[in-house]
Amino acid sequence: MVIVIAAVVAYMATQTTQTTQTVTIGALVPLTGSLQFMGTSGQCAIKLAVQDANKMFASKGIQFQLVTQDSACDPNTALQMLQTVYSQGIRFVVGLTCSSEVSAVKNFAAQNHIVITSISTSPLLAVPKPYIFRLPPTDDAQAQVITALMHMLGIKKLVIVYRSDAWGQGLSAAIANDSAKYGIQVLGVYGYDPSPSAMPAAEQAAVQKASAALGSPSPDAAFEIVSFDQDGAAVVQAAMNDPVLSKVRWFGTDSNVYGTADIQAGGQALANAKFMGAVAAPNPNDPHYQQFAREFTQFCGHVPTGYDPYYYDTAMMVMEAIAKTGSTDPTVINSVLEQWGKNGTYVGATGPVYFDQYHDRIYASYLIVGVAIVNGTPTWISAGFYNGTTGQITVFPQGQPLFSP
């Protein structure tokens, strides 16, 4: 039986390597499991990138094709899927989402020279990781932006509610640390079980604890929601009915801004609380981002949310490196990405990409996104911009009301 399998798979591998003009890219995204909502949207962004690359590089005689596998946000599955795509001769894998998956595939990727681009953000992985590049900045960068925003708005007291996973725990800890630098007192940090089976009781319990920790509302108090969209909606619903939290400012993260569930659950309450969050993105006036957002909306049928431009860039950056060098050798592409990361050569939907020594994104700028009532409807608006190089926050005219006391 083993011989038969080997023969079948060997035949299949020969088939893939014979097509010299076609380069196959693998995508490992969570199409099932807890991050399915991110993975399905991300898969669409990656498909769009492949379509764009095929138009852009048609003259060079290179065609890209995509093989997608479901990683389920499960490290065991992710490694098995990576091994499967490796057996198909694929040496470029994009879109890996969860930090636990990156942890599981790290050694296999280094050992077998597979270039991986990921949207993982955990500071735990800010270590040497050959052949793995992370397109979004780590959560530490986002924490800096959020606390700088709070400081600008005169916040002195803070309570945090976070989803208890590696991302939520890491980001809330980073926010708590950075708050101290600005003299913001963190009165309580409360986690909740983000699994759907625990919803909404777990979120309500965490919100109640945060409310009790804050005690009474004041203009210098704030409530930070470290959540994704679906679980964030349960937090919003609990907080909007809370006598203390409903009277203070709310802040979010890159994973709950633009959330449809959040705004449906309590759009008016978000607007009343002058809710703002930061998402790593180029200036919305940046032509690259505008083009991406337009194309994405047309291609995928909805506006891009937090990580969609990153998914796009995970694929596009690799394909551009392959097309421009004409090489499909992963070792060459690894060196090219390292070099591009030093010079900021690649400019994509998320702006110029610079990497540090660990292949993690640096100098990322953030768009500050908030909720305002537009024509009587709660709507996500671009309220300001955090320049990653200067550390300055620019307030857009439509965002002025959100920045007022």
């Binding site: 499960d74 098995q80 091994q83 490796y86 636990s100 079980d193």
Partner: protein, 388 residues
């Protein structure tokens, strides 16, 4: 009986040797060899897991719906306890090198320093293979001991109850353990997952895979031998008697509860071994990933392969992995042909396979065979020889 055992063991050993030669030394393309090597490691680990499930389900008829619990315990034993022991051994070295004593500040270690620390520990273990082996064996033995103890403790309140109550309790126990330990950082670094130092750090690249494959296959062979002996002993025959007619077995003086406890302890210990091997193989473990689906994947393998015999358990695991690998490879081609989303294709295929097997071949691919004992003629002859 002994001859049968010898034949089956020799056949398994031969298959494993052929597979090893094919996966490591055949002239196949490297990418296919790498896939085969890793596939064989998964098959070996899950075979241990399913053979242990087979003793509970196939031999005794126990509704073991909490089997994933022992993969969790294996992960905790390795990622939570054995890893900490190694950190303790190198504590002063790590304090000098990284500036943090991992065990004194477990939260910070888990969130920020695991990879730096693990890399340093691997360098040390690479120079000290004996310590690496000790650390590996400690993790494995601990996983087996903890699994045996906890398997009995968790099932004890319901072990006297009917199958359905026991099944529900075991299912809940698995989820309970997962949720509690996943959110407790000190256990195995909680939501961050535990980075596990490599006990075979002295071997690198393909050599490391070969060493791990050899070790896993040895454990599979040992597991097969143990469960073959147990299954074909008077103890094993009593289990089948209890499964087929519990009341009749009780009438003949068999203590059902005692047999259930013994089976739970033995099978759980070996499932814990599978959990430990899985954790060492990945060099990383995150307890939140061990959803109840792992239990039901084990059941699927067992139903396909055939219950009540250990060969069927191994065949079931192999068939499952072969089908799922082929599906993964051809999924995208199928998508283009069928114009349908292939995300849930594997679930559909295995769901259908279970229904069809249960309808048309409930005994599975390898059916359970009658137990061979010494025949009556020989028994009488031996007795008369003894009298003389």
């Amino acid at each position: 009986m002994r001859r049968d055992l010898l034949i089956r063991s020799a056949a398994l050993a031969l298959v494993l040797v052929i597979v090893a030669i094919l996966a490591f030394y055949s002239p196949m393309p490297e990418n296919i060899r790498v896939l085969l090597q890793n596939l064989m490691i998964y098959i070996a680990i899950y075979s241990i897991f399913v053979i242990s499930l087979n003793l509970e389900v196939g031999y005794l008829g126990l509704p073991q719906f909490g089997k994933v619990m022992f993969l969790i315990i294996g992960a905790i034993a390795v990622g939570g306890i054995a890893t900490k022991l190694v950190l303790l051994i190198y504590q002063s070295y790590l304090l000098k090198a990284v500036g943090i004593a991992p065990l004194s500040n477990i939260g910070q270690y888990c969130m920020l320093y695991q990879y730096s620390v693990s890399s340093l520990v691997n360098q040390q273990l690479a120079q000290n293979p004996a310590l690496g082996l000790g650390y590996f064996l400690f993790g494995v033995i601990l996983a087996m001991a903890l699994s045996a103890a906890l398997g009995v403790i968790f099932a004890y309140p319901a072990v006297r109850l009917r199958e359905d109550y026991l099944g529900i309790l075991l299912l809940v126990s698995g989820e309970f353990l997962r949720v509690v330990t996943y959110y407790a950082t000190p256990v195995a670094c909680g939501v961050n997952g535990a980075v596990i130092p490599d006990p075979f750090a002295w071997a690198s690249g393909a050599d490391r895979t070969l060493v791990f494959f050899a070790v896993t296959v040895l454990f599979l062979f040992a597991t097969f031998l143990v469960f073959e002996v147990v299954g074909n002993s008077p103890f094993g025959r009593t289990l089948r008697a209890i499964r087929d007619a519990e009341t009749a077995a009780a009438v003949f003086g068999k203590d059902i509860v005692k047999f259930r406890i013994r089976v739970l302890a033995l099978a759980s210990a070996f499932a814990g071994l599978a959990g430990a091997l899985l954790a060492y193989y990945f060099d990383y473990t995150i307890i939140g990933a061990y959803l109840p689906a792992y239990t039901f994947i084990g059941w699927t393998m067992l139903i396909l392969g055939g219950q009540g015999n250990n060969v069927g358990a191994i065949v079931g695991v192999t068939v499952y992995y072969v089908i799922s690998t082929i599906l993964n490879v051809y999924k995208n081609a199928l998508q283009a042909a069928l114009h349908a989303d292939p995300t849930y294709l594997a679930y559909i295929v295995f769901g259908l396979a279970i229904i069809l097997v249960l309808m048309y071949r409930p005994q599975g691919i390898v059916p359970e065979k009658p137990i061979k004992t010494i025949d009556l003629h020989n028994l009488r002859r031996r007795l008369s020889e003894k009298k003389d």
